[in-house]
Symmetry: C2
Subunit: 257 residues, 2 copies
């Protein structure tokens, strides 16, 4: 068997999220259907770096699957893409050793969140950004980002509905915000993210941007460990799973296989 790693991009607008669900159009569902066709009807299960919710986009989601077929990397890409609709594409295919796991070998994930900050919405990007016309103080948002960086218990910044038991401690290596014309682009890079964590962080950061909260409020919010401290989770439309980085081959735990 060969293990195939694929980097994929998708427009989340037309999907009921990543994870396969009966009677719903999902990214996983379409990928497994395409792979099953290539394997003459055999069921092929894929493993992803993680799920994405309805409406969330991906620039560099990563999945893997195992196959008995011997096909060159370039041909894999074409074979799968030919069987996919045009809102999901394989951008890269790589043969990996069996110690690689799309979910368990993740080292870092990077998410971006894009806010359109101008008076008028953009008809062409209505599914791709959060339209937010109020004036934002970018310097305050940046100061608040600095307070989010580091290793913290992110309970306040994760969905109370999360089924994940266990620790809510995560490490955020990088949190930033930059203005590019009318776009405000947030970048978060971390060891892992809790359910809805990016959307709740951006919601709190926009509160800082409009002066409803101060950057110095962030440490107390983290300390509170209570989701109820913050407003509602904002739209998935501006959210992109941007990049997933993995351990180098030598770093992987070869017993996992």
């Amino acid at each position: 068997m060969e293990r195939i790693k694929c980097t994929i991009t998708y427009d989340g607008s037309g999907f009921a999220g990543f994870q396969v669900q009966p009677d719903h159009r999902t990214v996983q569902g379409l990928l497994e259907k395409a792979l099953s066709k290539i394997h003459k009807g055999e069921t092929i299960r894929i493993q992803a770096s993680g799920r994405t919710d309805t409406g969330v986009h991906a620039i560099g989601q990563v999945i893997h699957f195992d196959t008995a077929l011997i096909i060159p990397e370039k041909n894999w890409k074409q074979a799968i893409n030919t069987l996919l609709p045009d809102d999901v594409r394989v951008v890269n295919v790589e043969k990996v050793d069996n110690a690689f796991h799309a979910r368990y070998s993740v080292k870092q994930k990077e998410y971006h969140y894009i806010v359109l900050n101008r008076e008028d919405p953009d008809v062409f990007r209505r599914d791709y950004v959060l339209y937010f016309p109020r004036r934002l103080d970018i310097a305050s948002i940046q100061a608040a980002c600095k307070h989010l960086e580091g290793t913290h218990d992110f309970t306040t910044f994760s969905s109370a509905k999360s089924s994940v038991k266990g620790s809510k401690v995560r490490t955020l290596f990088h949190a930033s915000c930059r203005k590019k014309e009318d776009d405000i682009e947030f970048v978060f890079r971390g060891s892992g993210f809790l359910y809805n964590m990016v959307r709740i962080m951006v919601s709190a950061l926009l509160d800082v941007g409009i002066g409803k909260r101060k950057p110095e409020d962030i440490p107390a919010l983290l300390e509170a460990r209570e989701r109820g401290q913050l407003g509602k989770t904002i739209s998935p439309k501006g959210l992109y799973l941007w990049e997933v980085s993995y351990e180098e081959e030598g770093e992987r735990n070869h017993t996992e296989n």
Copy 2:
């Protein structure tokens, strides 16, 4: 009665074109429905600078209508936008004198056509660009653009199905092509355009870009006055009605009113 000029933008993907048609979702249909609501059910007809086909986008389409209501410009914009779906927006409202006509006072129109020229398509722009992965010689395309500029009979470059009788002579003030990262953006500015003219010109220019035709073939193609000389009309997805310019107030024919 006051005459109101509106500049509007729309994502053409969800419309069966601009012009109202029974049982179809059209830009004109939605605008007239919104205006009718503002006028307590009265039928309001709009006049546009011209139609756009199914799938064609607009950054700066212009329309006008007449109203007995006295409403400030800024409030008009908000009132109409509140009643429109989010794939069409009024971006500007201006009160004009009655000599202004969205169609008959047009001085110049500018269309852009965007081609995504790279190996992989972009899932986020599949309705907004023409995906064209073949290598293009931009210098040759630019040379061909120069041959299109000027006053010519554009019969070869217009739909044979066009119902327009009369002259097919038009003046193209500007035709150009520039590369911006992976985008090839065509810009055409002219006194007026025949049916499908931009899409047929771009189709011919892409033929030049891949070496199937030479820039020097353009004069003979114009001379032939025969639509059959060229390949098929390309996708509307990359096409944008970018800007419509009008005569200044003093230049208008005041007898028209």
